[in-house]
Symmetry: C2
Amino acid sequence: MTAVMTAVPSEPAKAYEALCERLKEISSLNGISGLLDWDEMVMMPPGAAASRGSQKAVLAGVLYDKETDPQLGALLDSLKAAPPGTLDEVQAAVVRDAAREYVKRTALPKELAQRIAKLKSEAYGAWVKARTESDFSVFAPFLKQWIEISKEKAKLIDPTKPVYDVLLDDYEKGATSARLDEVFTQVREGLVPLIAAIKSRGRRIESGWLNGGEYDTEKQAELCKKKDNVVEGLTGAIHETGHALYEQGRNLEYDGLPVNSALSMGVHESQSLLWERMVGLSRPFAAYLLPMLQERFPESFGSVTAEQLYESENVIQEPSLIRVEADEVTYPLHIILRYELEKGLLEGEVEVEDVPRLWNERMGSYLGATPPNDATGCLQDIHWSMGALGYFPTYTLGAMYATQIYAAAKKEIPDLEDKIRAGEFKPLKSWLNDKIHKLGSLHKSGDELMIAATGAPLEPSVFLDYLRDKYNDLYKL
Amino acid sequence: MTAVMTAVPSEPAKAYEALCERLKEISSLNGISGLLDWDEMVMMPPGAAASRGSQKAVLAGVLYDKETDPQLGALLDSLKAAPPGTLDEVQAAVVRDAAREYVKRTALPKELAQRIAKLKSEAYGAWVKARTESDFSVFAPFLKQWIEISKEKAKLIDPTKPVYDVLLDDYEKGATSARLDEVFTQVREGLVPLIAAIKSRGRRIESGWLNGGEYDTEKQAELCKKKDNVVEGLTGAIHETGHALYEQGRNLEYDGLPVNSALSMGVHESQSLLWERMVGLSRPFAAYLLPMLQERFPESFGSVTAEQLYESENVIQEPSLIRVEADEVTYPLHIILRYELEKGLLEGEVEVEDVPRLWNERMGSYLGATPPNDATGCLQDIHWSMGALGYFPTYTLGAMYATQIYAAAKKEIPDLEDKIRAGEFKPLKSWLNDKIHKLGSLHKSGDELMIAATGAPLEPSVFLDYLRDKYNDLYKL
């Protein structure tokens, strides 16, 4: 450790330069940390586990020292105090996000950080046990600890804000629970009757021929890997490609700076869901995909029409109790239920003991389905065991951003759906590069990004109209 | 950077503990650096080159700060001043090697380190060009700079020692040029007549049937990978397995400490060459290997005897001009030639301009062969272009250590060669684990390790006797 405390440059341009150098260092170290994790999961022989553990611990210590260096804080203070107009839009965004991150890193005393680390490993074990035994009481004490420790943490980071908002900010920058309440209420009120209407029609489409049957996995992989047209194949590959395009589309000029990071988990998810749902599960894409399926799997697809493929891909099944198996119409209600409960827990309006009962009641009223036990109910997800309170909303925000972004793209790109039918995905990719990917974290929230890219903040009616139009048509409601 | 300069613990045990913590941190960061390099060569897509470059630069900076931290120096000073007997053998070795490393890291001013880095990349390019054009004059100015910069560096590290010894220490800890002169003179004087005698017999064995012919590469790979008997297959796989066994055989109790590192490049090479030459190219191994070759390649090996396989594996070809193609009898003279020249250059007794002439003269007198041009003469090796002066001797030291270690193993392991013939390699591996691998850097030089493992320092006659016995027999000299 070189111990010299150098003076902060008085010239803002110099101070900004010094800031960027430090931020890029931190970004590089985070990149290394990512490689260590990836290598551990994919390449590393298990005998190297102890050595990799030491490497990760040392690197975490180095990162902590860099991220909490008082010199970094002094640079940020000087730049925040610079007269308005000194920094351009990008520079201001860098300072804004770096300052927020610095506050988060320096707010927690070491003792609290250690308690959090300890709870993380204990709570995970307890959750696994609780789910295996389908016994919420095994996990309850740890969820209680997470609630208390999360409140403590949030108050240290920003005592002026609601606890939920401070936690949410880690996953969905700039969002608030007041805004989520507003958005999610509309979504819930729109979806409950839609789901009831679909249910009343019964299952209109036989889905067995698509979901059952056996398909050679090598042929499937080959289909997913055909990359010259950006997306082809099955929904998983399309979804992950959407995430990758977001990461790859960033502006390299700002590489290593916070402004070049993903804006939020919700925006990230919007890029995967846009390609998966708006493109991959659309009528024009079905027309494009069908001949490729027929060529590879003639027995299954030889006599199928594009409309039949589209209908089968979008069949609404019996409402699932399990979030990760839910379709796009019921999925948001799984999220809203979790959001309501975790917010209630943090605000003291819900007791941990009441979680299983409230969960089951709301599953009944939102989806008309009641879990037979906690394992398929309030214990199904890993998130709370890791202390990830405030994460769930990003899934549905992502789905909503996706419909609104796609609606704007359709207005601006002539004949977009004809292009998709013809396998021309580049115009959409370029449009997303310009409107979303390149901007990274320039805007301070998902709403601001929506205004810049689509002309309006997140608007639940766009999402609801998309679902209504699609399923009214499919189900002849 | 936390700027607090904490006091050195007055209790030696505490100071040693604090030292180990720092050394393990440095070791972990070096391990991370190794992963970044490996991943770059093996896994990384080329588009990530710029980002990986930044990561490596940042990590190098972090490592430099840790390795040159004055606190580390203060801990080492306090431990070097501890009363005799305070530290046990292992602890003393840790302090000895860490202190030497600290001197090396802190001796060079930043400006010199930058000049070295610059020269490294320029000299490499010049060497590639010089070799392609077979024109030593293109490389000569850079070799001159390496000589000057190496002298400058050596004087900063230890002005009391000969320049060559300081450089050699990076590769062969504890060795000196005086000792190399002594050893290499005996080797040279022993080998020149042996080579002449072999040459006078002409090529006794037709090697075409083994070196020519086509062998299915998958069957070869499968043969090399059969691992339950430690070594099986071709010499490359056996050689690298020897290196791996040395690394894997270290004492995990001292993981991350200098005492657990390889003692030297020479000792490392001894472990690969022992398995390759003493085992893999031996008569008993030929008897063990033959049936496996016959099973896989019946056309080539169906009517071959074990003695024929052994003879063919050990045929001495026309002396090669190229080091990496040389056999075990001529190889040491390639090394001695390079050692004499690089030592002469550093001591001012050889001028850079004279290198091509001296090279060709000595190739003639040592091996009876004269390179037709510089590309196949003094420009053939990459080492000098990277400033690796003092590296070459380790190859032949390794070959010599290997024969002496194997001779000791043969004395101590009953019926070792019968065991090898039966494919039982574990007794030899266990013996090497105990005598060499586990010791790491406990001893301060290769000679000291030889004393501990074989009862005597490196003894050239052991190496010469091995070669004479083997080739007198093979060539009926």
